[in-house]
């Protein structure tokens, strides 16, 4: 035996056992051809695969079908399975056990949440249950790790046993003197093949299993005291408040406000530290490495590229840490519950609320968190629309452009700049919901039909799971999205620092500009940038962006900000030869910039509004594209998203400029 599979229903504590068995020695990938997450790790030399949770081997969702197919293959591989049960729902979980047991593969049954069982005055006679099932049964408390040693010992000593079968014999078929069993082939029925007769057969199968499970648990094996189930009582009492039509929504808004405040404020310092660390490293490289092109490549290409990835780590880690707590306590399901009615109008459901709200911090973790949505049509709608929500990277761009657009004045008790910012946020939200609605209507995927949402009991978070989840999600972002961001950053650096012209040409142009222009601050860097490959690219795109009110300089900023929106501000600083990237000098510089042909301000109201609208809609973030590709499994979806958003941005920016002009 060199590998085993962990099987169980959702919320059975399967992943907690997986984390306890493998520690951080685990890798996260996708099952081939699909985007369902595959988690595997090692206990000594035994490979453990944590399968997606499934309610039954009569698979329904995409995730369940992956698990079903993996479990059915265990028969051929002779691979044993550990089935994890939730002690609070033992009767229901044993129905799944009976389905797997009928495959006649070696098994161990782990009953999790033994602590909660004691709290509800219930008990299980393990020895008697073991005898009736025919395979080893262990009790576990995944929060404290109690019972883990016994499970490890059983796995390592290959203590698996083939359990007694339940309904397998009812699938026996005797034909042409050969007895064959049709259980597995019946399980493989797909949605299209489901008929009245087939459904009746499945109903009969479930009825038989439920009856057999009841028999097994009879005679004092399971004593469940519903009246004194403290956990259930506490959950019901809390639900009365947390799902209340008024207080429930107030508490939900307050918790979300705290979560996003934490994502913004707690990440400020670590993000600054990462920024400073990379700036220091760039300086160090310039000082220590003599070769100029090599030190430029590292300090201006590779290190900023790496910084572009690393700078998102604090936001992603904090968001997933807090979402992990909400999920572990059971509150995430309640959020889905209270927001479902509103989101249904846009073709979404309550399960979309967290990814959408996460997008206010950053679209990357938001898109990653859509894995909790089991309806493929809804998931793709959210992935497609989420980048329209106003992420934190848009904030520096908005701040600068609004400051150039209007002066600091108040309308009533509100500041004018603040009101414009609020309008941009609302515009982002409205466009997200409209686009999600359109995608949902046009999607080729069928809705799964019956929408269900499990409401687990409230419990204190399992901190190990919270930290592991945060670490794995962050690592996944750094490795997967990082590869793409890193490559494109180097390409952008090459285009911005190389030119078909020589040094003498730059000197001549520099002197020409100084004589022609009253702008005495003009620097050699700005001249080099104008005649770099990126500069030529800016001039190539100039005819296309001229109707929006932009010149080639804004063109370069638009192209370079494809890497990340916030690069727009930095690029403008370089182009307009401002030594510092502080907001105030950039704002003043943009205000003073004059259109040479008309003599009017370059950043007039029309250009500014046009730019603001462009940034509301345009998908100027290669990290998002990389994550969309990772989550959807192909570039086509990411490119289509980029094309559609750029087109919308262009149309709105064009209309705004032409009307206001």
């Amino acid at each position: 035996m060199n590998k085993i599979a962990l099987v169980g229903k959702p919320n059975s504590g399967k992943s907690s056992l997986f984390n306890l068995l493998t520690g951080l020695n685990q890798k996260v990938g996708n099952y081939s051809g699909v985007t369902v997450e595959k988690k595997s790790g090692y206990l000594n030399k035994i490979e453990i695969t944590d399968l997606p949770g499934l309610n039954s081997l009569w698979a329904d969702t995409a995730e369940e079908q992956i698990s079903q197919s993996y479990i059915l293959n265990l028969i051929h591989d002779e691979t044993p399975a550990v089935l994890v049960c939730n002690a609070n729902h033992l009767r229901d979980n044993l129905v799944l056990f009976s389905e797997v047991a009928d495959l006649q593969i070696p098994m161990i049954l782990v009953i999790n949440f033994m602590d909660e069982l004691k709290n509800s005055n219930s008990s299980i006679d393990i020895k008697a249950l073991e005898a009736r099932l025919g395979c080893p049964v262990c009790l576990m408390n995944s929060k404290k790790g109690t019972g883990l040693d016994t499970i490890k010992q059983l796995i390592q000593s290959n203590g698996f046993k083939v359990p007694n079968s339940f309904c397998r014999s009812s699938y026996d078929v005797f034909s042409q003197d050969v007895l064959s069993n049709k259980y597995v082939s019946n399980l493989l029925t797909n949605e299209q093949e489901l008929t009245e007769d087939k459904l009746a057969m499945i109903e009969k199968d479930f009825a038989q299993r439920e009856m057999l499970v009841s028999k097994i648990l009879s005679g004092g094996i399971l004593i469940y005291d519903e009246i004194n189930d403290k956990l259930r009582k506490r959950t019901s009492q809390l639900d009365k408040i947390l799902l209340h039509p008024f207080w429930g929504i107030i508490i939900f808004l307050a918790i979300m406000f705290l979560v996003f405040q934490a994502v913004f404020s707690f990440s400020t310092y670590p993000m600054d530290w990462i920024d400073q660390l990379f700036a220091w490293l760039s300086g160090l490289v310039n000082d220590k490495i003599q070769s100029s092109w090599f030190s430029d490549l590292i300090s201006d290409g590779i290190l900023p590229g790496l910084a572009g990835v690393m700078i998102f780590i604090p936001q992603i880690a904090i968001l997933f840490f807090l979402l992990g707590i909400l999920e572990n306590t059971g509150y995430l399901s309640r959020i889905s519950n209270i927001s479902d009615a509103f989101l249904q109008r846009f073709g979404l459901s309550g399960k979309s609320v967290i990814p959408l709200m996460s997008s206010w911090a950053c679209a990357i973790p938001a898109i990653m968190s859509t894995r909790t949505i089991d309806d493929q049509r809804e998931r793709l709608s959210v992935i497609f629309a989420a980048p329209l929500m106003t992420c934190s990277a848009r904030l520096p761009v908005y701040t600068i452009l609004i400051a150039v657009l209007v002066t600091e004045e108040d309308i009533g008790v509100f500041g004018l700049r603040g009101l414009i910012l609020l309008m941009l946020y609302l515009l982002g939200l409205a466009s997200t919901l409209i686009i999600a609605y359109i995608v949902s209507r046009k999607s080729q995927y069928k809705s799964t039909g019956l929408w269900t949402l499990e409401m687990p009991n409230y419990r204190s978070p399992n901190w190990r799971n919270v930290f592991y989840n945060m670490y794995l999600k962050t690592r996944s972002f750094v490795v997967e999205a990082g590869k793409v961001i890193f490559t494109i950053s180097i390409v952008l650096w090459f285009l911005a620092t190389n030119s078909p012209k020589n040094e003498a040409f730059f000197q001549t142009k520099y002197q020409e500009y100084q004589q022609l222009s009253s702008n005495t601050d003009i620097s050699m860097d700005a001249v080099r940038l104008e005649y770099s490959y990126a500069g030529y690219l800016g001039k190539i795109v100039e005819p296309a962006i001229k109707p929006l009110g932009y010149d080639w300089k804004i063109g370069i900023a638009l192209i370079s900000s494809f890497a990340a929106r916030e690069v727009f501000v930095g690029t403008l600083s370089t182009i307009y030869s401002v030594g510092s990237e502080d907001e105030q000098p950039v704002i003043e510089r943009l205000k003073k910039e004059v259109n040479i042909k008309t003599g009017l301000p370059r950043y007039d109201t029309a250009t500014n509004v046009s730019l603001l609208l462009f940034y509301v809609f345009a998908l100027q973030c290669m990290s998002t594209l990389a994550v969309v590709r990772k989550e959807t499994g192909h570039w086509k979806f990411a490119f289509m998203q980029f094309f559609v958003f750029t087109l919308i941005a262009y149309v709105f920016a064009f209309a705004a400029y032409q009307i206001i002009k």
Partner: protein
């Protein structure tokens, strides 16, 4: 239309009330999905929460709590269970 006297839609149950499922008027796939959640004819369901503003009903089957949409719940007929 309800099948016979005394039968109500699942949405009509009040908080804490129990009932026996007597008919499920949904498609094959929806019925199969309900089966995996433990709901079939004869199952005892307990209403946990069904606020008027919400699109969902929260029901409990053998201690396990979950929500389905009211739109689907209206296609599930139940008869109130008098023994608590």
């Amino acid at each position: 239309m309800l099948s016979h006297f005394g039968v109500v839609h699942l949405t009509k149950l009040k908080y804490g009330e129990k009932a026996v499922v007597t008919a499920i008027r949904l498609g094959f796939n929806a019925r199969k999905k309900l089966l995996t959640y433990g709901i079939s004819l004869g199952t005892i369901v307990k209403m946990e929460y069904s606020p008027s503003f919400s699109s969902l009903v929260n029901i409990n089957i053998q201690g396990k709590s979950f929500c389905i949409r009211k739109l689907d719940a209206k296609n599930i007929e139940v008869i109130k269970y008098s023994i608590v």
